[in-house]
């Protein structure tokens, strides 16, 4: 043992090197791995909020607004899913039809739901399957009317004009524990 001091240095070096290596391995990720980083759900929410009215206008021009809104919602849902984001929404559209008011609700909450609609005092209930839409007609509401929307724990009252197509959208984006909510009124 007396003449082996150098070997102790060598053994200590190997031990230190192994400990150092194991420590670093658990702390540092390799730099060579390509990790695509996606935009956060905040940007997606900002994007979707500005794009829903455009989709509605394009659908209105093509006289297939419900079909367009449904398709656009499915498109956003698919794109969000590709980024690991869960997208759920419900949209309400009002249109004047021969002086009456047609109200359509599109449900993309991920489950069937009942929606209660109140147009200036008159209440109607709609059952909407998931990824579906349902409509109801309100007779001769005033030119300016209030629309009450109620489903689950959500309640909303809007003051709208009859002779204009109105769109109201409630949006929710979820990624892990992060949830961003928003709404669109146009």
């Amino acid at each position: 043992m007396k003449g082996m001091k150098g070997q102790f240095f060598l053994a200590a070096t190997f031990t230190l090197a192994i400990v150092f290596f194991l420590g670093l391995s658990s702390q540092i990720s390799p730099a060579n791995i390509s990790v695509p980083k996606t935009a956060s759900i905040t940007y997606l929410m900002d994007n979707v909020k500005s794009e829903y009215p455009r989709a509605a206008n394009l659908g209105l021009n093509e006289s297939k607004i419900i079909e367009t809104l449904t398709n656009f919602t499915e498109f956003v849902k698919e794109e969000a899913k590709g980024r690991g984001i869960s997208f759920s929404t419900i949209f309400v559209l009002t249109e004047n039809v021969s002086n009456n008011l047609n109200v359509t609700v599109g449900n993309f909450l991920g489950y069937a739901t009942n929606v209660s609609l109140n147009v200036s005092g008159e209440t109607k209930n709609l059952y909407i399957v998931d990824t579906g839409a349902n409509s109801t007609l309100f007779s001769s509401p005033p030119e300016s009317f209030t629309l009450g929307i109620s489903f689950n724990t959500t309640e909303k009252n809007l003051l709208l004009e009859k002779y204009k197509a109105n769109l109201y959208v409630i949006l929710e984006l979820r990624k892990g524990g992060n949830i961003v909510k928003g709404e669109v009124k146009s």
């Binding site: 003449g3 001091k5 150098g6 070997q7 240095f9 060598l10 200590a12 070096t13 190997f14 230190l16 090197a17 150092f20 290596f21 670093l24 540092i28 390799p30 730099a31 060579n32 791995i33 390509s34 990790v35 695509p36 980083k37 996606t38 935009a39 956060s40 940007y43 997606l44 900002d46 994007n47 979707v48 794009e51 829903y52 455009r54 989709a55 394009l58 659908g59 021009n61 093509e62 367009t68 398709n71 656009f72 498109f75 956003v76 698919e78 794109e79 980024r83």
Partner: protein, 123 residues
Amino acid sequence: MKRKGFWRTFESVLAVIILVFFVLALGVRYSFLPPQMDLSAVGYEILKDLDNRGELRPYVMNNQTGVLESKISIPGRNHAIQICDFGDACYGTSPAGENVWVSTYIIAGENFYSPREVRLLIW
């Protein structure tokens, strides 16, 4: 003639060399990445700004990725544009680079409804 002092010194130097070799080897394989700015946010703002100036939709609807790429300049970075439709058919090239930031921008259409997703890839 015994040269104990020489061999001990030699072994110590050898130990130091081995230790330095390990540290350098790890340095090549691993690196402490410096904090990077959120390029996905930068990319989104670039696409949004192009859209606000009316310089996004016409090119997206015609799948003109090259024109869009020429309108974007990010100092010190490379970038590419991909345009994907509902069927996930994409135009444009994927970068071969590492640590690629992806910013996306959804559009419903321009003169008619035709949803697309624009991807700005920065690396």
